[in-house]
């Protein structure tokens, strides 16, 4: 059963890349390709392991990143220097095309944010339907002339109606979403691990087939790995992943990460 959650979390490979670049707080014009590629691939891999549906665009981008990475390792043949005119220093950077795409995409991603806030702002205003003015109309048959409206006009009218939120008696109850926090799930996972002598099959950590639960569990595992409270191991490629608790010796120094 493929989950599209993941794909929707990032709008596409460009969105994911922007996210990784922002996370590293690096200059978009000087992307450390090796590092970004590694993170990108790790992300795709985890998604595969979770059997989340990875759209083909993500894989195409992975290939592109690998090509750029290898080009970066080549000596720069194409560097042409015209010493008389420093403006003419021409160096083809294998990253150029990608950077340009990222910048172009980022522009519209930001514009989408603007639209989002305009949408919210507009949502604060309520309008009313046109009044029924039949009492003011003369009894005459409307002529069957050119109405000059299109299907879009009809659709737009309908959307307007839907938007003009229907008002009714105040509701007292609101449905609240049952949320499991990552923290809670982390504690649960550590508990589960202790019950099975500290080691379990990764897949066994996902007993509930709900998207929420899977996503939260996955992130809880990531966080636990980051905090070095658990370790993940895989015997062979494509083999099952096992998760085990890292036992901390009594009195061990936990200061500093390295």
């Amino acid at each position: 059963m493929p989950y599209e959650v993941k794909i929707d979390a990032f709008e596409g490979p460009l969105d994911l890349l922007l996210h990784l670049i922002n996370g590293l707080e690096i200059d978009i014009y000087d992307i450390p390709v090796a590092q970004i590629t590694e993170q990108y691939l790790m992300y795709i891999k985890t998604m595969n392991e979770l059997k989340l549906d990875v759209a083909s665009e993500f894989l195409v981008m992975a290939a592109t990143l690998l090509v750029i990475k290898s080009k970066m390792l080549l000596p720069k043949h194409e560097e042409i220097q015209d010493l008389e005119d420093p403006e003419m220093i021409f160096e083809e950077d294998p990253r150029d095309e990608l950077v340009e795409r990222l910048i172009e995409y980022r522009k519209y991603k930001e514009a989408a944010q603007d639209l989002k806030s305009m949408e919210v702002e507009r949502g604060l205003m309520y309008t009313k339907p046109p009044s029924d003015l039949s009492e003011f109309a003369k009894e005459k048959q409307p002529e069957k002339t050119d109405m000059n409206v299109s299907l879009y006009d009809m659709l737009a009218a309908f959307q307007k109606l839907l938007r003009r939120k229907k008002l009714q008696r105040p509701m007292t109850t609101k449905v609240t979403r049952q949320e499991i926090s990552i923290e809670t799930r982390m504690t649960e996972i550590m508990g589960e691990l202790n019950q099975v002598n500290g080691r379990t099959n990764f897949n066994d950590l996902f007993p509930y087939p709900t998207k929420d639960h899977i996503v939260v569990t996955f992130l809880a595992v990531l966080e636990l790995i980051k905090r070095k409270e658990i370790d993940a191991e895989q015997q062979e490629n494509f083999g099952d992943i096992y998760v085990k608790a890292v036992t901390v010796k009594e009195g061990a120094e936990m200061i500093g990460h390295h």
Binding site: P129, P130, K144, A157, L167
Partner: protein
């Protein structure tokens, strides 16, 4: 000292409620005051409308609800608005009604009015006169109200081969669900990554 601007809030509420109006009880509930206070606020706004001749709206009490309506003395201008040549194309009211019929046919006038929240006699009249809709039968039960549906002219006019060719309405519920899930994931993912 009243810091809350009751007049302004009540006017907003009545304006948005349109022809459906609001009962005293509803006003009290939304404003979170008792009914006596709600009544005072209503009377206060009503007096404002009546005493200020720069206002073109007034408050009326109809079928147990309070509603806003245009002042009678401006009726001649409303008549001109109805007759204005610019309103000769299909009005928003007519288009809305047409869309509801197209997507929900066969449907009665009462059902259309339930959806729109306003009287729909005139738009139905216009649409019938333009041959875009017709009576297609009678509903079961008491009253045996007319059922409306679209016509062949409707399809011709909008260049549709059949009614199935109408653009699909977005599955609102589904869209929202996916978006919520995505938001949740993204939020959690960020929490983890950035922590």
């Amino acid at each position: 000292m009243d810091i809350i601007n009751w007049n302004s809030i009540l006017e907003s509420l009545l304006f948005a409620a349109g022809d459906e109006g609001l009962s005293l009880k509803q006003v009290a509930e939304v404003l979170e005051v008792n009914e006596l206070k709600a009544y005072e606020i209503i009377e206060d706004l009503k007096k404002d409308y009546d005493s200020d001749n720069k206002r073109g709206i007034m408050m009326v009490q109809l079928a147990g609800t309070y509603q806003l309506a245009t002042k009678k003395e401006n009726a001649s201008y409303l008549k001109k608005l109805v007759d204005s040549p610019h309103t000769s194309t299909l009005s928003q009211a007519a288009l809305e009604t047409l869309a509801i019929i197209a997507y929900k046919q066969p449907i009665t006038r009462a059902e259309i009015e339930e959806i729109r929240g306003v009287k729909t006699e005139r738009p139905l009249h216009t649409l019938m006169a333009k041959a875009l809709i017709k009576e297609v039968g009678r509903a079961e039960g008491t009253g045996r109200a007319y059922l409306y549906g679209t016509t062949k002219e409707f399809l011709d006019y909008f260049g549709l081969k059949s009614i199935e060719e109408l653009p699909q309405l977005p599955e609102k519920a589904e869209d929202e669900f996916i978006q919520e899930e995505a938001d949740l994931f993204f939020e959690k993912f960020n929490e983890t990554i950035n922590s």
